[in-house]
Symmetry: D2
Subunit: 344 residues, 4 copies
Amino acid sequence: MHDFRSDNVAGAAPQVMTALAAAASGTASPYGNDPWTARVTERLRAIFETEVAVFPVATGTAANSLALSALTPPFGAVLCHHEAHITTDECGAPEFFTGGAKLVPLPGDHGKLVPETVTAHVARAGVGVVHRVQPAVLSLTQATEAGTVYSPAELAALVEAAHANGMAVHMDGARFANAVARLGCAPADLTWRAGVDVLTLGGTKGGCLAAEAVVFFNPAMAEDFGYGRKRAGHLVSKMRFLSAQLDAWLADGLWLRLAAHANAMADRLAAGLTALPGVTLAHPVEANELFVGLPAAYAEALEAAGYGFYRWDDGTARFVTAFDTPAAVVDGLLDILQGLKEKA
Amino acid sequence: MHDFRSDNVAGAAPQVMTALAAAASGTASPYGNDPWTARVTERLRAIFETEVAVFPVATGTAANSLALSALTPPFGAVLCHHEAHITTDECGAPEFFTGGAKLVPLPGDHGKLVPETVTAHVARAGVGVVHRVQPAVLSLTQATEAGTVYSPAELAALVEAAHANGMAVHMDGARFANAVARLGCAPADLTWRAGVDVLTLGGTKGGCLAAEAVVFFNPAMAEDFGYGRKRAGHLVSKMRFLSAQLDAWLADGLWLRLAAHANAMADRLAAGLTALPGVTLAHPVEANELFVGLPAAYAEALEAAGYGFYRWDDGTARFVTAFDTPAAVVDGLLDILQGLKEKA
Amino acid sequence: MHDFRSDNVAGAAPQVMTALAAAASGTASPYGNDPWTARVTERLRAIFETEVAVFPVATGTAANSLALSALTPPFGAVLCHHEAHITTDECGAPEFFTGGAKLVPLPGDHGKLVPETVTAHVARAGVGVVHRVQPAVLSLTQATEAGTVYSPAELAALVEAAHANGMAVHMDGARFANAVARLGCAPADLTWRAGVDVLTLGGTKGGCLAAEAVVFFNPAMAEDFGYGRKRAGHLVSKMRFLSAQLDAWLADGLWLRLAAHANAMADRLAAGLTALPGVTLAHPVEANELFVGLPAAYAEALEAAGYGFYRWDDGTARFVTAFDTPAAVVDGLLDILQGLKEKA
Amino acid sequence: MHDFRSDNVAGAAPQVMTALAAAASGTASPYGNDPWTARVTERLRAIFETEVAVFPVATGTAANSLALSALTPPFGAVLCHHEAHITTDECGAPEFFTGGAKLVPLPGDHGKLVPETVTAHVARAGVGVVHRVQPAVLSLTQATEAGTVYSPAELAALVEAAHANGMAVHMDGARFANAVARLGCAPADLTWRAGVDVLTLGGTKGGCLAAEAVVFFNPAMAEDFGYGRKRAGHLVSKMRFLSAQLDAWLADGLWLRLAAHANAMADRLAAGLTALPGVTLAHPVEANELFVGLPAAYAEALEAAGYGFYRWDDGTARFVTAFDTPAAVVDGLLDILQGLKEKA
């Protein structure tokens, strides 16, 4: 099957697999006291050009929820876009990890929040009123669930709105690599220089097997994180196998090259699709996801040909490209539709 | 370093690595809807000779805590040996996952509980009294933290005491393979035929990278487990990489051969050590762990030679062998002590 | 101050105080094993014309949250009106008690939900999908936060939508007495005959000091409730003092007479206000709360005269009458505005 | 029935009832913004001779659990005597409120801990080790569950052991009044001057209906307490009715006079019982509880005569006196046994 359903249907990058194989023999101290984990921290320090506290975990849900639980008390509120993964697709994990904090879904075009929405919510949230959950975290997704990206300036304005109201800022970076690759700016510009406090950096979708890193730009915030991670069953004993993935993925810019490829395949697909009559983009294509209005005949033809993608009742379809999507598969998909158009 | 500190300092078995490499390319459905995961369930069905519901997760702490949370309400009590990993080494993970159930540590020689201890506790626990947490689970560790094993008859008697008092039975099987390999009986005899309700089957210590399976022998008990796993961030998206490990490990009895090797190395070490004057076994060696009274001169000589192991103030030392411990390393260790003895 | 801010600024009814005084001497078994508590259950059985399981607690937030925690697993969703007290004014108590279930605020005119809203939400909620919280409870408020009431037919339709989708139905009845008094129908018609599973019956606002009762119409659902209540610190040791309040309040229809008075005062106030130019009702007045569009001059005159009520930026004001609001105080308020009008 | 089962079988003191009646009419701001609550804080400031932050709640379980949740993170351990109410009789409430912290029961004669036990536990607790729950709170009960009291010097030594190890100190003062009345020292000497951080001061057993106060001697520790209390459903809306009880109870030393009476009745009972052959005290009688070895014939005679008290299988019986226990009832009990002795 030519599968565009998600970037988690992909396997793992060869460089990651090679590193894993190399890590398999010999003894190593468990629980992160190993050279691979130390190297990951070093790499992230260099990549982000600042001190960081780094915690590898196996899933994005864990990374997000653990990060949030470090930023909010149980009586806190986590503001996020209403389509954010943390509020729609994690079965209440943030609520579980935080001891019952409340996720507050906010509206915004193309998957993005704007500062005014944040400020307006806080203004009516009852800050200091004991009957109300207290705004504690602003969680931003970069790249967003709509396949768009925040610019550094957009981020900085959002962070300012959050910080001005005493909120910490979390970034769900399941596709952070795609955003960096697209914007071409320094990772620091999209995170701590814009004021982001904690990033959950996703490796899984980008070419790892199962590896994410929670990255604190203010290590003091991470003081208790190790206990929370252990207590949640997310401290892997043979940590080298988690860290070896990240180590290879972060080495020599591989993570950005892989993301750039996924982005390029999304662009290629978008260019081909929008050249067809009746196909419209629901959102700008700024990372590796496309949301398109797709005529039913097209959708059915692709399904008949074995292509995987998501369709909604309203005629929208989602295609996600990955670090290893072959250009030929994209072109094959487009050929089918092109053929259909010519027949019509 | 020749490292006997734990079996989690070991790497991964070559067969597991090969399987992982083979799983790395191509697309696959995420979240367990893949052939590897289906195969793991099939294998466990065959190994345990019964219907099972299987949930792979990455850590033993997660496996234990999720299993317990399926068996106890928040107001329940989980009875366990006072040295059980769940109560001493998981930073309160069971309390977190269960919504605050209480772990009740009970005494027992050589890491093992006996039915009388369970029954006596329940008798004074205030069953039905609203002020008291209610005995809900008996958690047994097989092999135990003391490196001993329960026989099928011992298990059956314990389970009977638990079931007679309305408790479910969980088995922490981080080293279940070692117990099966030692006892030579059917896996079913050590679990559901003895009445065990849920097993957390450990693959990590036995040769996987990070893979455990929660195995329900009564699938009806697992009805909500999937939600709990997701919510705890333990549903790995590229599940094939977790399942491929277990698939290879369980294939053709590899898991038992690896465990048998670890056990044999423990026996070899025990035989050599107890032949030395002044060395005593604190517990029978029935799996892959040795607890020995070790004269300080011996301990210091080993440390000086770079051998890793744990020492306590009372003169006890712990050595753990692994699936890949070379006989030569065991013999080298013994040679050092033998030399010391001859000099003395 | 003539205080219309809320019905919780009122004191307690003389009959309740008398009963409390009578309960103060002599010994009684603690924790609800006393004649007062037995009598409360008997009274509610008679009032609701069915078997009930009854649990008195001291606050409405506790009553709501404990009831919800009996109906939803931690991975469940509780659907409610977006202005429901449980989602806006309890500082996340339901999340705390349920182990992190998610409250889903739904829209609806005049504080009321309609079945279509419930059904539409469930249709897109991902029932059975492990990534999504699962719709578990529909929570309805009677009388609503907008001072309106659901008719038995409206309730039945909502309950049907909930039950058809596997959800239990909770009713927040902080002002249930006002609804019954207004509608004049049997309490059973507004609860179990319409399919409601659990009612939190509010006594505090209606003339008690601090007394609510969680009433289960299906006692089997309450099996574990006692543990949850104890564990939350809501099992009062000298329970007689909680139950004596409810006993007196429920005796001989006092609860309905007091509610009818509060309703009548609301009507009186509404009649007087709407006779004034420029005053509009935001919602029908069907219980003891008024939401009115109030010209600023009127609002300021009332504040200057020492009347308490809530004002919002949009010009809306809220007035709440209580079981003991004197007609003279209502008339005095109206006189002030009438005088203002005549001057104008 | 002449009921010595517990001090919670008693009613309420007349002065408390009078104050409650006086509070019943007129309007007052809800949620603690009322004169009664302000007065309670003032009284406690004076009684403890220092700044305090005060939070009235309705039950001791709530007071203890909320206080503990302000002192420990979820990954913390709460050290307490193995018979402490918080670990034996609150159905896991501290675990619930703290998000799953672990209660560590420690041994000690006559219900009392000694510093060496605390220090020894911490030494082996794995401080700083991520696998272990971290000692966060020492909870002391004053008067103890065994009816004994800690002297100021004993308390200071225990607090020192706790503070030296980074733990906060909580005092469960359900019977604090009895301890103060017995020792005759300043309340400050038994609390903050000895280093206690938070006291849960029990009014219920001492003559209130249902009123406890959480008293922080370091108000900074209480910063978030209001949210926790609300979220747990323990913020009573008509707070005046909770505070009026405490206000009357604390006025003019009433709380100590009532406690002194209960203590005197315990002494009277102890003197009479120990004058009988075969009756032994299991613990010194230092508050209002007696634990006695009671010959079966005596126990049966008392039960036959309608006296209430607790008996255990080992022949121990518990008698608890209350603020209103009549001397004549004590003497009547003793007469029965005296008659039995003379017959024998």
